[in-house]
C-alpha cells in the first residue's frame, strides 16, 4: 500500500500499533489500504453495510447519531469496528471535520488481520473498554 517511505514509523505513532516491532509494522503496512477524504464529506453513513475497520492516521471526524455529534475522533482513533465485528450496518454517520487520511482493513480481511496481530487486537479491546467505562461514568 502507498503509505510512503517512513510507513512503519508513522504507523508506530498510532496507539493501536504501539506494541509492534518494526518488522511487524512493515508487514501491517503492507496489509492496509490508505484512503483520504476531504473536509465536510462522509466516510460512513448510518445504515451502510459494513465498510471495514478505519484507523485515523491524520485528521478528524465526527461521530453523528441522529443528527447529534456524539464524539470526535482524531489521530490514533478507529471506527467501523462494531459494524465489521457484528456484520451489521454502520451505527453512525462519520463526518470529516478536518481533511482525513485513514487506514482501512476491508471487512472480509478484518478477522484474519486481528488474529495475525493479537497485540493490535488487545489495544483495540483496551480502547473499547475505555469507551465502555466512559459511557458507564456518564450514566452515573
Amino acid at each position: 500500500m502507498p503509505l510512503g517511505g517512513d510507513t512503519a514509523a508513522r504507523l508506530g505513532r498510532l496507539g493501536i500499533f504501539a506494541d509492534l516491532p518494526e518488522s511487524e509494522l512493515r508487514d501491517v503496512a503492507a496489509e492496509l489500504d490508505e484512503r483520504s477524504f476531504p473536509e465536510g464529506g462522509w466516510v460512513l453513513r448510518q445504515g451502510d453495510p459494513g465498510s471495514g475497520l478505519f484507523i485515523v492516521a491524520d485528521g478528524e471526524v465526527g461521530v453523528v447519531i441522529d443528527d447529534d455529534v456524539v464524539a470526535t475522533l482524531a489521530t490514533g482513533s478507529f471506527f467501523g469496528e462494531i459494524s465489521v465485528l457484528l456484520g451489521e450496518p454502520a451505527t453512525a454517520d462519520i463526518v470529516v471535520r478536518k481533511p482525513l487520511r485513514c487506514l482501512v482493513i476491508p471487512p472480509q480481511r478484518t478477522e484474519e488481520f486481528l488474529l495475525a496481530h493479537p497485540k493490535v487486537m488487545y489495544r483495540m479491546l483496551q480502547t473499547e473498554a475505555r469507551r465502555l467505562r466512559t459511557v458507564d461514568q456518564a450514566r452515573d
Binding site: G12, R13, A18, D19, L73, G76, S77, K98, Q126, R130
Partner: protein, 627 residues
C-alpha cells in the same frame, strides 16, 4: 496576591524573567508556570527526578507545555486562588478573556499502600468573557532532554513513552502532531487549537502512566471535583496557621510555598524547586538546590512551629533524626569526616554526585547546567549548630526528645568537641579553600549550648562539665579572634578583615546581646559595607575571593536576617522600612528566588525555601517588636 501585566506577542518570545513564574505542586514534585502559560520546569515523579519540561534551562531543547492565546497580542495576569496553590493565568484581549487554572491534586495516603501516584498536572481552561482562540503546545524532553521518546496517538489523547517514564496527555480536543515545528531532537511534540466562548471550558490532564496505558476521557465533573478538593486541601492546611500579625498574606504565601517544597513521603524540604538558575547571568554560579540541607533544619522547624504547623515540623524533625541515627558508614560519603553530610536527597540518600549537562545552554545562556551537588561532601561545621538548635526547638515547643535520639545526639556533641576548631568551607559553600570561619564557630557554640539546655531542662544524662568547657572555649575564641578591633566588627574568618552577613545571626541565636557594643558596631559596619539600598550582599566577592568566577546579587535571606537584627537592636523604623522595601522585590505572587540583582531582578534558584523561611522569621520578630 496581585497580578502582573505583561504584553506579549507570539507563542514563545524567549526566556521569561525568573520572577515571571508561579509554582504548583503535589508534595512530591512541582511545576513552574510562566505568565505566558508555559510550564517550563517540571520533574517527574519527584523534585529531584530528571526534568520533562526544562525550557528554563534551554529554551529550544529543554521542553515545555504551553496553553495560551493562539494569535495576536494579549495582556496576561497571574494570581493564586486565595489561600491555595491553585494558580490562575489570565489572558486579556479586546475580543475576550480566558484563563488557565493550573493545579496538581494532592493524593493523600497514596504512599505505602501500593497505589500508583499519578502526579496529575491539570490545566483547566475557561472562557471568561467574549471568545478566545487558544493553542496548546507540548514538547516533552525526558531525562533533561537526553532521552528520545515516542508519541502514541489514542482516542482521548497521547502517551509520551520514554525509557524512564511515560506521561499521558488526556485532551478533550483532538491533538495533532507538531512535526512541522520539530525541536532539537526531531520530535515536534503535539498541539491543538480551540476556541472558547464565555462559560465554556476544556480540561487537559497530564499524568504519569504505565507504558501500556490508554488515555481516557476526563469528564468536566471529575476535573471540577479535583479542582474543588485541591482548593479544599490547601485552605484546610493553611487554616492551621496561628499567625495573626502584620503582612499575613505574605507570611501565608511563604508558608504555602514551603509546604509545596516539602516531600510528603519523608517530610524533607528541598532548598528550592530548581537547579542551575544562575546567581548572576553568565556567572557560572549555578547549583542544584533540589536537595535538603541540614542547615535549613533549624530555620524550618522554627518557622513551622511559629506558625502552628506542628505536623510538618515533626515530620521534618523525624527526617533529621533519621540522618544522625543512620550508622556512620551509611551516612558518610568518601571524603567526609563528620558524622553528617551537608545535604541529602529527599529520601535521605547521600550520593549527590555533581555533573554538568553540556547539551543544555543554561538559563539565558548561563552555562553550566549542573545536577547533583558537589558541596555535599564539604566539611561545614555550622550544620551541627543548626541541627541541634532544631532539636532544641522541637524538644521545647513540639515533643520531648526520645532517649535513643538523645544518645545519638550526645555522640554528635562529642564529635564537635573534638573538631570545632578545624578549618572548613563555611556556610556559603565557597570553593576557595578551607578557612576558620567565624560563623562555623558560632554555630558550633550553638550546638553545644543547646545540647546543654536540653540536658538541663530534661534532666538527661550528659557530660555537662566537659560540654561547658567546650562551649566557653568556643565563645572566648570567637571574641578573641573573630572580633577584629581595627574594623570594630566580627569578621568573615580569622585570617581576614572582611565582613560577612552570616554573623547577622549572632544576636538571633542569642550568642550576643542585640544591644552589645561589639554587636552594634558590627551592625553599623555591615550597614555601611554590605547593604546597598536596603539589600544585603552575603560578602564582598571582590575583596574576599570565594574560588568562583563572576558577580552575584544581594542575598534575600541575609536581608531578612538584617531586618531581624535591626529590630532586635531596637532600630524599629529602619527595620520596618527595610522589610517593606524587601517585600517589593517579591514577584507578583509573593515568591522569592535566592538573590536580587542590581535592577531588582530575581536571580538564582526559584522559589527558594530559605528566603521564605527568613521572611517568616523576620515578619514574626518585627511584628512582635512593633507590638
Amino acid at each position: 496576591m496581585a497580578g502582573t501585566t505583561t504584553p506579549s506577542t507570539g507563542p514563545r518570545p524567549g526566556y521569561l524573567p525568573i520572577a515571571e513564574y508561579g509554582i504548583i505542586g503535589d508534595l512530591h514534585t512541582v511545576a513552574l508556570v510562566g505568565t505566558n502559560g508555559s510550564v517550563d520546569w517540571y520533574c517527574c515523579p519527584a523534585f529531584d527526578s530528571p526534568s520533562v519540561f526544562g525550557a528554563i534551562l534551554d529554551h529550544d531543547r529543554g521542553g515545555y507545555y504551553r496553553i495560551g492565546p493562539a494569535t495576536g497580542e494579549w495582556t496576561t495576569k497571574q494570581l493564586y486562588l486565595p489561600d491555595t496553590n491553585v494558580l490562575i493565568t489570565r489572558y486579556l484581549t479586546p475580543e475576550g478573556v480566558g484563563e488557565v487554572q493550573d493545579f496538581m491534586p494532592v493524593e493523600q495516603g497514596a504512599r505505602g499502600r501500593g497505589r500508583l501516584h499519578h502526579h496529575r498536572l491539570i490545566r483547566r481552561v475557561l472562557g471568561v468573557r467574549g471568545r478566545m482562540s487558544l493553542r496548546l503546545d507540548i514538547q516533552p524532553r525526558f531525562n533533561y532532554a537526553r532521552d528520545d521518546h515516542s508519541t502514541l496517538f489514542y482516542e482521548n489523547g497521547v502517551v509520551f513513552r520514554s525509557p524512564g517514564t511515560s506521561l499521558a496527555l488526556q485532551s478533550p480536543i483532538a491533538l495533532e502532531s507538531g512535526a512541522a515545528a520539530a525541536g532539537a531532537n526531531g520530535d515536534g511534540g503535539v498541539h491543538c487549537e480551540f476556541t472558547l466562548e464565555a462559560g465554556q471550558s476544556a480540561t487537559f490532564v497530564l499524568e504519569q502512566v504505565p507504558d501500556d496505558y490508554v488515555p481516557r476521557r476526563y469528564s468536566e465533573d471529575e476535573t471540577r471535583e479535583a479542582f474543588e478538593s485541591t482548593v479544599a486541601y490547601w485552605r484546610g492546611w493553611l487554616a492551621q496557621s496561628r499567625y495573626q500579625g502584620r503582612w499575613r498574606e505574605m507570611v501565608h504565601r511563604s508558608a504555602l510555598t514551603l509546604k509545596l517544597l516539602t516531600y510528603e513521603p519523608t517530610g524533607a524540604m528541598v532548598a528550592a524547586a530548581t537547579t542551575s538558575l544562575p546567581e548572576g547571568i553568565g556567572s557560572g554560579r549555578n547549583w542544584d538546590y533540589r536537595y535538603t540541607w541540614i542547615r535549613d533544619a533549624a530555620f524550618s522547624v522554627y518557622a513551622l512551629l511559629r506558625l502552628g504547623f506542628s505536623e510538618e515540623a515533626a515530620a521534618f524533625m523525624d527526617w533529621l533524626t533519621d540522618r544522625f541515627q543512620q550508622p556512620h558508614s551509611q551516612t558518610t560519603s568518601p571524603g567526609v569526616s563528620g558524622p553528617l553530610q551537608v545535604m541529602y536527597d529527599i529520601r535521605g540518600g547521600f550520593d549527590l554526585k555533581e555533573q554538568i549537562l553540556p547539551h543544555l545552554e543554561g538559563y539565558r545562556g548561563s552555562a553550566p547546567v549542573r545536577i547533583g551537588n558537589g558541596a555535599a561532601s564539604q566539611l561545614q561545621l555550622d550544620i551541627y549548630g543548626e541541627l541541634i538548635d532544631s532539636v532544641y526547638l522541637h524538644d521545647k515547643y513540639g515533643s520531648p526528645i526520645h532517649y535513643d535520639a538523645w544518645s545519638d545526639l550526645c555522640r554528635v556533641i562529642d564529635w564537635i568537641a573534638g573538631h570545632w576548631d578545624q578549618a572548613d568551607e563555611g556556610i556559603w559553600e565557597v570553593r576557595g579553600g578551607s578557612q576558620k570561619f567565624t560563623y562555623s564557630r558560632l554555630m558550633s557554640w550553638v550546638a553545644v549550648e543547646r545540647a546543654i539546655r536540653i540536658a538541663t531542662s530534661r534532666g538527661l544524662p550528659a557530660e555537662l562539665t566537659r560540654w561547658q568547657t567546650t562551649r566557653d572555649a568556643i565563645y572566648h575564641q570567637i571574641m578573641a579572634q573573630g572580633w577584629n578591633p581595627e574594623r570594630k566588627a566580627f569578621v568573615q574568618h580569622y585570617d581576614s578583615d572582611m565582613l560577612d552577613a552570616s554573623v547577622l545571626l549572632m544576636p538571633l541565636v542569642k550568642f550576643i546581646a542585640p544591644t552589645d557594643r561589639r554587636w552594634l558596631s558590627t551592625l553599623d559596619a555591615i550597614s555601611r559595607e554590605l547593604v546597598s539600598d536596603s539589600l544585603v550582599y552575603r560578602y564582598n566577592v571582590g575583596a574576599s575571593p570565594d574560588g568562583l568566577e563572576g558577580e552575584e546579587g544581594t542575598f534575600s535571606m541575609c536581608t531578612f536576617w538584617y531586618v531581624e537584627a535591626l529590630a532586635r537592636a531596637g532600630r524599629l523604623d529602619e527595620a520596618r522600612l527595610v522589610f517593606e522595601k524587601m517585600l517589593t522585590y517579591a514577584n507578583h505572587l509573593g515568591l522569592y528566588s535566592e538573590e536580587i540583582g542590581l535592577t531588582g531582578e530575581a536571580l538564582g534558584n526559584f522559589p527558594q525555601a530559605f528566603t521564605h523561611l527568613a521572611l517568616i522569621s523576620a515578619a514574626y520578630c518585627l511584628d512582635q517588636q512593633l507590638g
